[in-house]
């Protein structure tokens, strides 16, 4: 509203209007002229005036009458009026009845400065009123905005305000709902009534130290409701500070995570159960397995001479399958144990590790593969787990290329798209890309036992380990031409 303030000047004599115009010419205002009361009234319909200068002596309707009518209209009820009169008459007393709105007098002939000052006074006041009005409008908007924020907060969260000693001053409906107390029961209470004894003294001390020094505290707190039921809240405590930067009250903003905490507890319990189960499996299944193997051997040792080749073959089969079952159990247990293991990252020299794996492999299997190892990047990973990955991938490469006349295995590392990718390539049996998605499944194999031995857990273990490192693994192969396994860790 940066338009110039408008002033209504009313005088039946045009020359007086001209004189007024000249006197007021230096002021930053817009003048609207009227030569009669009626004209003036019409003008007020079209304009918002900051001030009216009225001649008193006018035919038909004099200045006082006009003022009276202006006062009766809502739009002009508070319009400041300056009367310009040649004579100071008694009719002023009549008008004094209308006390609304400022008015002032100036008698003709008047000194221009006096008029200018009076006009300025009223204009300034008008501007101030406008500014105040605008300020109020904006304030009103801000207040509404804040009210909206508060509403949003109250609806979405569990909110409470305590004084600096922890006595509850305010709570929102959600707070009452979850704590099962009424507002009345809560206000004035120490916040501690919600304390479950779950958290240690150190925990609470740390909380108080943080917030009383003006810092925000975030964490998860276990609480008790009025009916002694338990609920967990994800909590943020915000100190409100006074001019001296000391907290005078605290606002707690929380959300209910009871079901999440419950799920966490269930998960932990399930994991423990799984661990116990794995342990049982490990122990309880091995003894009978050993017995099967044992009795078959004892049979062979003690009565072997009475058996023909077929008899011996049958016993051999018993042993073979018992052995296989053992490997299966071991692999399964290794796979399940993986899920529970915590990763410990260290920097690893891949060339060293590959060398170690090759040494180990050469001790347990005889092969004629030629293994080429390039210069490998260093990487951050869990030592034991990465060792397992390399062991599985390299032993696979050896196994599946063992039927070739000149098995060749290449181990290399490259940087691709900012990531370090390790490759293990062999020229062995390869696999059909159509079934590539089965490669890493547990117990999934793309070759029969007769072609190549295996339990189908090796690659599943590899993938799990890579996933734990948030890395990637992929494989490419073609039948009888070989396979390449590429993996990267984060």
């Amino acid at each position: 509203m940066d338009a110039k303030p408008k002033i209504l000047i009313v005088d039946d004599k045009p020359e007086n209007l001209v004189a007024l115009r000249i006197v007021l010419k230096d002021l930053d205002i817009e003048l609207v002229e009227a030569t009669s009361g009626n004209e003036a009234l019409k003008a007020t319909l079209h304009h918002n005036f900051a001030l009216a200068l009225l001649d008193i002596q006018m035919p038909e309707m004099d200045g006082y009458e006009l003022a009276g009518i202006l006062r009766e209209e809502e739009k002009t009820m508070h319009l400041p009026i300056i009367f310009i009169s040649a004579v100071y008459t008694d009719n002023l007393n009549v008008f004094k009845g209308y006390e609304k709105g400022a008015f002032s007098f100036i008698t003709k002939p008047f000194q221009p400065e006096i008029l200018i000052n009076k006009v300025r006074f009223f204009i300034d006041r008008h501007q101030q009123e406008l500014a105040l009005f605008e300020l109020n409008e904006r304030l009103g908007q801000k207040v509404k905005e804040i009210a909206d924020y508060k509403y949003a907060l109250d609806e979405s969260s569990i909110v409470a305000v305590t004084d600096k000693k922890g006595i509850i001053k305010e709570v929102n409906d959600n707070f009452c709902a979850i704590s099962k107390y009424t507002r009345k029961e809560l206000i004035g209470q120490d916040h501690r009534i919600l304390n479950s004894k779950y958290h240690s003294k150190e925990f609470m001390k740390d909380l108080w130290t943080t917030i009383s020094s003006g810092k925000i505290w975030k964490g998860e707190i276990k609480n008790i409701a009025k009916d002694n039921s338990v609920f967990w809240l994800d909590t943020t405590i915000v100190p409100f500070q006074d001019k001296n930067n000391r907290p005078y009250q605290y606002m707690t903003i929380r959300s209910d995570i009871t079901s999440r905490k419950y799920a966490e507890e269930q998960l932990l319990a399930a994991n423990k159960e799984l661990e116990a189960f794995s342990y049982s499996v490990s122990h309880d299944l091995r003894a009978p397995l050993r017995a099967v193997n044992g009795y078959a051997e004892m049979l062979n040792e003690d009565y072997g001479i009475h058996l023909d080749d077929e008899g011996k073959r049958l016993i051999e089969n018993i042993n073979y399958y018992a052995k296989k079952m053992g490997t299966l159990i071991d692999d399964l247990l290794a796979f399940s144990r993986l899920g529970r293991k915590e990763i410990q990252m260290t920097e690893i020299d891949m060339n060293d590790m590959v060398e170690g794996v090759l040494r180990e492999l050469n001790k347990s299997i005889t092969h004629h593969a030629k293994i080429k190892v390039g210069k490998l990047h260093k990487v951050n990973a869990d030592y034991g787990l990465l060792h397992q990955v390399l062991f599985n991938l390299i032993s696979n490469a050896i196994k599946y290329s063992s039927k070739k006349e000149h098995p060749i295995i290449e181990i290399s590392s490259n940087e691709k798209n900012g990531k370090i990718v390790f490759s293990i390539k062999d020229n062995g049996a390869g696999f059909n890309m159509e079934y590539a998605d089965k490669l890493f499944g547990v117990f999934q194999r793309l070759h029969s036992q007769e072609e190549f031995e295996g339990t189908g857990v090796g690659l599943a273990i590899v993938q799990r380990i890579i996933a734990k490192h948030k890395g990637d693994i992929s494989a490419e192969g073609s039948i009888n031409k070989g396979a390449t396994f590429d993996f990267s860790l984060t």
Binding site: Y279, H283, A287, P288, A296
Partner: protein, 145 residues
């Protein structure tokens, strides 16, 4: 018991016991061997009480092959009892178990076990291990007495 027991085997699993005894027999170590099926019997025997109250308590075996997982009183409890009594704490105890779980291993050593052997799954290996350990404890190792 009218013979001195040199090797005491405490094992609840019949097939494991049979294989252990067979392996020891191969090395002629079974003359003075006793096989008991649970912890209660083992303790009764060693402390000459209950069914074994007639026994001379000073006669202690050269080695005890002890399984961990047994009903009633398990291997850990037997081990703890043995190692805490003056009379029996010098007897060499070899845990022979399926478990290779770290907590078990740590606890046994904490209680003072002399040796911890995980039963191999493969029969051949099992026989080899038992033979080796039998020979070691019976022939190579010097018993306390």
């Amino acid at each position: 018991m009218d013979y001195e027991v040199e090797i005491l085997i405490v094992e609840d699993n019949m097939s494991d016991a049979e294989m252990t005894i067979r392996a020891l027999k191969k090395n002629n170590l079974t003359n003075k061997l006793l096989h008991l099926k649970d912890g209660v019997e083992a303790l009764d025997f060693l402390f000459a009480r209950g069914n074994y109250s007639g026994r001379k308590v000073e006669n202690i075996p050269k080695v005890i092959l002890l399984d961990l997982k047994m009903p009633k009183v398990d291997g850990l409890q037997v081990l703890q009892k043995l190692k805490s009594e003056e009379r029996t704490k010098r007897i060499p105890v070899v845990i022979l178990t399926s478990s290779n779980e770290d907590p078990d291993i740590q606890e046994c050593y904490r209680l003072g076990v002399n040796s911890y052997v995980v039963k191999p799954v493969q029969f051949e290996q099992f026989v080899k291990s038992v033979s080796e350990l039998g020979l070691y404890w019976m022939l190579l190792n010097q018993p306390p007495r």
